[in-house]
Symmetry: C3
Subunit: 268 residues, 3 copies
């Protein structure tokens, strides 16, 4: 993938301000909305069964995140997902904590079955649990990767027939045939809650303007990782509070020059 | 309106610490509470049908915001609103996204019908949809104003028999007879989620100490806009993360000198 | 209590990264998760009746907070609490706003009756209302302490048979027999929403690694108060926005040297 493509996709997001409909968890709503605004997207959060079909229909993409799921929200996710499918709106799914409880695993599998998901994003343990492979998980923040993550991603993509993004030390993006590995990002991201969830919504914004979903995902991941790297440089030893704020700043500032200089993508 | 009045009203908020009962959306709860604290008000969030009547009764004002409405919360809003009405507690309503979905439009109209609202605050599209005028909206963040906003505000105030605040490039405040236009504020506010919602709650705090609701609203809008202008000066090119934090700082710092120097109010 | 004990307990949190299961209010979820991450704990939020028993079982501690309670969440709290009890997972309870509405008072008493709570944390008014003593409260942020707080804490601990933490100008920690008073902290904490709620979750993290619950609570309170004092020094006159961010930074930075130099604990 050319660096020009990565920047072009980012540029399209900033010009078109895609409306990203998020049905996400109560921990990350504010951070997600502010991150999407910093990027140049238009976030909307809508949860009620009475309106999610209408909202998903006019959105550029729909992001489903089960971080604090409950039975009502899951029903809304299914309704919104079907409406998105009917209207060719891409659906991005984040199976937060799949494997941590049976309810999360089963709900994830139900969503994958009832909704045509375009891109799923999680850590290795979450993705493994959704497709029924063995992997360890502790709480919802796990992701220490033992085993071959690239293989897991490919298997998952083939089984679920969608683009799979597994994030960790390095990020793997695959449609089951073509695979990319992105080495951007920084471990401090794990010290700020919702950085995984926001990433999923950012992928949603990119998928809302770019039909080539592999390119959308790779462009989102490099953009996001570069913003983190730049924020770390600015805030160095200050701590996770300052990093979090500078990261929002950098999400609005990543430029073509940054992408050319810092993006790290290879074939996997 | 005299600049002295604007500062006197702010001063009353800081001295009396009005208890503002918010039934608001899950995206902005934290930012709203912190903004109200910075101002000097006492925020409380309570949603359960079992308690909202009790809470609204002891509050200085009640703020209803449908940003992430669902059927249960709407019922609680109605219960709280009626309790506020019975106890002469002013009700401030923010019809977030009215027009974006039918559910939001109808719920807004239902709230306006079942509850005596003192002040409604929205962008032009939202207010137009609540009163049944034609206006365009995209998602919940729209607000590009075509058409005469002052006329829309006056019509809405007369139809709904309450104070109407339409925010945009300039803000219009009217009770249908007397109209003010406030030119404070800054476009970067649209890059931080919940700045409209927090503004509605800030108007609630001012309405909790000032019986002249036009004065309460104008004082709130100038105060809020000046805090934004000062925050922009401090954070310049840094980005929306830094602006957001400095804005909270400035909400606690706006002084009589600032109001005399920067407030921009004219008759509309 | 020796300063060495305080630091040892903090060190254990940082080494073991206890999984703290929070069922908390919608205002503070993000701040709570980020505060726990800054400390070195692993936060998880899970609310659904379908999964809370499973999540509480694998957690190091369970934190219940009724800040924005509703009937469904209360049921989940009871289920999670019983599961924690069955699995020897300590339960920490924050009765936010007990006394402000009858619903909060009765729910607090119900939780204390149906769940074996290890530590309860509130201001004097909240604790008084839970145990049925007279005390004044305004909204959910009250806590002006009139009357003898140490006596109240001891009475409450004996009546409820658990460790009681009453926070205010000074903090009182007691199991009904042994009592400590912690003088760390800073009034600006009352200008940032959720600092009480996060404190309760931080106590949860400490209780997740330290069986001596008095020591866990005292270590948590000194650690937390010192972080606030350090943050105030860094941000001085800037305002509550900057303080909030620096406080998150300092939660990750409090060191053995800081504890030796700044902790202020006496017998009460």
């Amino acid at each position: 993938m050319e660096k020009t493509n990565l920047h072009e996709t980012l540029q399209k997001v900033r010009e078109r301000n895609p409306l990203v409909h998020n049905i996400t968890n109560v921990v990350v709503t504010n951070f997600t909305a502010n991150g999407l605004l910093a990027l140049g997207a238009s976030p909307v959060m809508a949860y009620a069964a009475e309106e999610v079909a209408d909202m998903a229909k006019i959105a550029s993409s729909l992001v489903l995140n089960i971080g604090t799921l409950n039975s009502q929200t899951v029903e809304s996710m299914i309704i919104a997902g079907k409406s998105a499918n009917d209207n060719n709106v891409p659906v991005i799914f984040d199976p937060v904590g799949a494997g941590a409880t049976l309810y999360r695993t089963e709900t994830s599998q139900r969503i994958m079955k009832e909704v045509k998901v375009s891109i799923i994003r999680g850590n290795a343990a979450e993705i493994a649990n959704v497709v029924g492979e063995k992997w360890e998980i502790k709480g919802v923040d796990a992701g220490e990767t033992k085993g071959n993550v690239v293989d897991l991603a490919k298997t998952a993509a083939q089984k679920m027939n969608c683009v799979v993004v597994i994030t960790g030390k390095e990020d793997v993006i695959t449609d089951g045939e073509t695979t990319y590995v992105v080495a951007n990002g920084h471990p401090i991201l794990t010290k700020v809650t919702g950085t995984g969830c926001l990433l999923t919504s950012v992928i949603g914004a990119f998928a809302g303007v770019e039909k080539d979903l592999l390119q959308a995902a790779v462009a989102a991941l490099t953009y996001y990782g570069i913003a983190a790297e730049k924020a770390v440089k600015q805030t160095a030893e200050q701590g996770p509070g300052s990093f979090q704020i500078e990261f929002l700043n950098q999400l609005s500032l990543v430029s073509e020059v940054d992408i050319n200089q810092f993006s790290s993508v290879r074939r996997g």
